[in-house]
Each structure stands twice: as C-alpha cells, then as structure tokens.
C-alpha cells in the first residue's frame, strides 16, 4: 500500500460511512485505525487482480477445492 492509497480513505470518511449505516459514532483514533486497515485490505485486492476475472463465480470455490484435491479415497 502506498502513502497515497492510505490517504485515499480517512477517518472522516469512515465516520461518515458509520453514520450512513446507522452505527454509533467511532472515536477519532478508532476511525483512523479502521481507515488504515480498510485501505490496506483494499490495496491487496487491487494488487492481486492481475487479469480480468471474467466469469469467475465465487460459488464454485468448494468445487474448486474438491477438484484440486484429486480423487476421493
């Protein structure tokens, strides 16, 4: 995550989102930690998506685990 990524989400935005969802207000240090944590997590998504995902269907994850396991005993 770059400094610019981290700056993309600030504590005030997190506080606004919390209000939008009807959550109790977060204190400023907590909102800042949430902003940093969420920015870092989202940066990992961006860094991992190296190619278009096309028709990748999340519901097929268990089937993929079973396929990669090889034949059942």
């Amino acid at each position: 995550m770059t400094d610019r990524d981290a700056a993309a989400l600030d504590a005030a935005t997190v506080a606004a989102l919390a209000r939008l969802m009807g959550y109790a207000p977060l204190d400023a240090p907590a909102a800042a930690r949430v902003a940093a944590g969420a920015a870092s997590a989202v940066a990992a998504v961006r860094a991992s998506a190296a190619a278009p995902l096309g028709d990748a269907e999340p519901g097929s994850f268990l089937a993929e685990l079973e396929r990669l396991a090889g034949p059942a005993p």
Partner: protein, 470 residues
C-alpha cells in the same frame, strides 16, 4: 489405571473401553481440576457439572449394557461457547447472546455427543470470535497455563488453555483467521483448521460464512484424527459442506515421512521471525529430514496479499452479520470489537466481490506453484514469542497493533485459500512458552498433515510436557 493428566484422548478412550475406569470417574477428575484451575486460567465460561456427569453415567450404563456409543465413548471434552444447543446457553463471548439457546444442536457438537463424548462445559472465547489474544472485555482474559501472564491466543482461547492444562482431552473450536491454530500454538497443543467444507458449520456462530472453519484441538495427532473423523462429513443443513467421503484419518498415522517433500517458503512467512522461533523451526525440520523427509525451498505466489484478501471478506461479512446489533445495541460491544466490525463498512462492496471472485483462481495458482514442488508446506505457526497479556491489552500503546498483526500473519492466508493447516508444538522459548510450526496441505489432505505430525511426535516429546498449571 491411567493417569488422567498424562493420557491422551485416544489412550483415555482405550482405558474406558477396557474398563480400567468409568467415564464418571474420569469426568469427575476433569471437573475437579477444571474447578481448581479455572479461577487462574479463566478457560471455561461455564463448567456444566450436572450435564457432564449425567452424560458420563449414560456412557457407563451403555457400556455396561454392551453397547458402544462411538469412538469417543465416555471421553470428557469441551467446546468453544459458540455451538448451538437447545439445552445449553451459548454466549459467543458476548453479553448480546447471554442466555441464548439455539433452536437445534450444532452439527459438529451433535456428532461429538453421538460419538459418546462427555461435554464438560463451554470454553472461553474472544468476543464474537473477533480477536487473536484471548482478551475479552466482558468475560476477562483467558490465561496461558505455561505462564498466566501470557496470552492463551484466540479466538478459541479456552480450547487451547483447557486442553493444555489437561482439563479436557480435546476441544472443538473455530478458525476464521487462525483462531484454532494460534491458541494451539500458544498453549503447546495441536490445532487443525480443516479444508473449507470438511466440517459442517450449521449451528455454529457465524463470523464470516466464506472464511469460517470448525476444527479440533488436542494433544496428539492421533487425538486430532479421532476427533476429525467424528465431526467431518456432509451435512444437509450446511450448503457449504463437502460431499467428499471422510477417510479413516487414523490409518495413515504410522506411515512416517520418508519420501515426503517439505516445502519451506521464505518471504512473509519467515521475515522477522523471532530468533528462538526460527531455531525451533529449523530443529523440527532437521528432525523430519533425519526421518527421511526431503526439504525444498518454495515460493508462495502473492503471499503478501493473502491474509489481507481474507480480511476483506471477513470484515465485510462480519459487518453484515452484526449490522442489526451494531445499530441497536452498540453499548453491548467492546469498543475494540465494534471498531473491528466497522472495518467492514469502509471496504467497498466491489472490493469484497472481487476478493471472493479471486479466491478460486488464487487457490489454483497456489496449488500449482506449491504442490508441484512439495507435499506439505511448512511455516512458523506463530512468528513471535507468545506475548504477555499486558503487551496486547488495550492501552498498551501503538505497539499493541503491530504485535496483534504478527500473531496471525502466517495463519490467516490459509483461511482465504481454504486449504487444511495444522499447528504442531515444536519446543519452547527460553521463557518457557511454546513454539509451533504450521503444516499446510492440498485441499482435503488432512490425513497427510496428521501423518507428518504423528511422525514428528513419535520422535520428540514436546507434547508430553505438562504446563506448570495443570
């Protein structure tokens, strides 16, 4: 007569089957020790004397009538306080669920009981399973039996501490980012996060339906094999449960490691590992090599992002699951857990969907890269020494957050990938706290991991040591 403080779950089951002692005697012994040590360890939220003794008497009566209930007949175990049971309260470590009784028994718990297990009570856990230290603002911290000033790990804190302290022969926990493997590592026992879909989650408190795993903690690989064989398998109540047949996990325990290739990654799995942890890990690898395993260096593609990808999913789903209570009962959350849940608010929905969509392609890439080179991946379970409760408590400063991040950095990647991962004790640091490695396998290769752990345990005696508090 067995020594209940030395016997493993499998040995206790055998002693019960041979009539060396009754389940009631063994259960009374466990309950007495639980009452004696719980004030120091805080590993039980509830000790259920009457229910446990009634179950033990039923087990003894069945045996006297010539009936065998199953592979856990009469064996005392305990479960994290998050498995529904109409006959028991299930707190999930939170005042919000105090007094809650599920409508139907959780499948994993029902399978334990149907196999004859005697449930001693409900084990301590982090509030709503969100937290890797074992701190709980409402129930107090769970403490480590090797040194009560140190964390027991979380979120299945009580499971780790109770099994290590010989208060129960095995336990059931949950793992959404390391919550079985971390308490196992911190307390010097074994903990298995099975493959996603291997153990049904119906009736278990959800934290993140895409990332949650249910699994056992115990003192030996054979014990884990016994417990996993009981709880694994398809469940029509859980659409995410695999229909793949359950193998005999005990069958491969004696196969050894000769000819097996162990892959040792560097990068995020070894950077900044504490020197004493590094030494114990290298010694364990040398032991396995001396027994015939071959060691190779491997690269885990995209390793630096896997834990964060898991967190995108975990926090998004957890925020949704807790949305109603966060709006209506915010005061019933600790500020720390409320803030963690709020992380899900700040993650764009598109990022959540993309993290889910990436999961199968990244799993394929992981398996292709890693298991083309080795049979089992080996990493530290816990990269740092087991920290103190004080160092991880609220108010201990900015270093607390980096310490907490260190706790799960080797563990959380495998929740995202859904592959099986097993924490195995491999020694102690100079301050007497346990060290553990993590074995990671192909999807549904739990038997391979248990075989490696069993081979290691035959060669070493770490799992036989008793903690000062037992």
């Amino acid at each position: 007569m067995i020594d209940p403080q030395r016997a493993t779950l499998v040995e206790a089951a055998a002693a019960l089957a041979q009539g060396a002692l009754s389940s009631e005697e063994l259960t009374r012994d466990c309950l007495a020790r639980a009452h004696r040590l719980n004030p120091a360890l805080n590993c039980f939220i509830r000790i259920e004397d009457e229910a446990a003794l009634a179950a033990a008497r039923r087990a003894d009566a069945a045996r006297a009538a010539g009936r065998t209930l199953g592979p856990l007949h009469g064996v005392p175990v305990a479960v994290k306080d998050m498995f529904d049971d109409p006959g028991r309260e299930t707190s999930s470590g939170s005042p919000i669920r105090r007094g809650f009784r599920g409508a139907a028994t959780a499948t994993a718990l029902a399978r334990l009981e149907a196999a004859g297990a005697v449930v001693l009570g409900a084990l301590h856990m982090s509030e709503f399973a969100l937290g890797p230290t074992g701190h709980n603002a409402f129930y107090g911290p769970c403490r480590n039996p090797w040194n009560p000033a140190h964390i027991a790990g979380g979120s299945s804190s009580g499971a780790g501490a109770a099994v290590a302290a010989r208060l129960a022969f095995g336990a059931l926990g949950s793992d959404s980012g390391g919550s079985i493997r971390l308490p196992a590592a911190a307390n010097g026992i074994l903990g298995l996060k099975p493959t996603y879909g291997r153990v049904p989650r119906s009736g278990a408190m959800p934290l993140s339906w895409s990332i949650d795993h249910i699994g056992p903690l115990a003192r030996s690989a054979a014990d884990l094999a016994r417990l996993l064989g009981v709880v694994a398998g398809h469940d029509p109540r859980d659409p995410s449960a695999s229909r793949r047949p359950v193998p005999d996990y005990a069958a491969g325990l004696g196969s050894g490691v000769a000819g097996l290739t162990l892959g040792v990654p560097r990068g995020v799995f070894r950077d900044g590992v504490a020197a004493e942890v590094e030494r114990a890990l290298e010694a364990a690898l040398a032991t396995l090599e001396a027994a015939g395993a071959r060691r190779v260096a491997v690269t885990v593609p995209g390793a630096e992002h896997l834990a964060e990808l898991g967190r995108v999913i975990l926090y998004s789903e957890a925020a949704a699951l807790h949305g109603h209570w966060l709006r209506t009962r915010p005061e019933d959350y600790s500020p720390q857990v409320r803030a963690r849940l709020a992380t899900g608010l700040a993650i764009p929905a598109a990022a959540y969907a993309e993290a889910l969509q990436l999961r199968a392609p990244l799993l394929r890439r992981f398996c292709d890269a890693v298991f083309a080179a080795c049979d089992v991946l080996v990493t530290p379970a816990l990269a740092i020494e087991v920290p103190t409760l004080a160092a991880t408590d609220v108010g201990s400063g900015a270093s607390m957050w980096s310490t907490i991040a260190q706790l799960v950095r080797c563990l959380a990647p495998f929740n995202y990938l859904g592959v099986p991962a097993l924490s195995v004790p491999v020694g102690f640091t100079a301050n007497g706290l346990p060290v553990a490695l993590q074995l990671v396998g192909r999807p549904f290769a739990e038997a391979t991991l248990l075989g490696v752990a069993a081979a290691y345990q035959r060669l070493t005696g770490w799992h036989e040591r008793l903690p000062p508090l037992h």
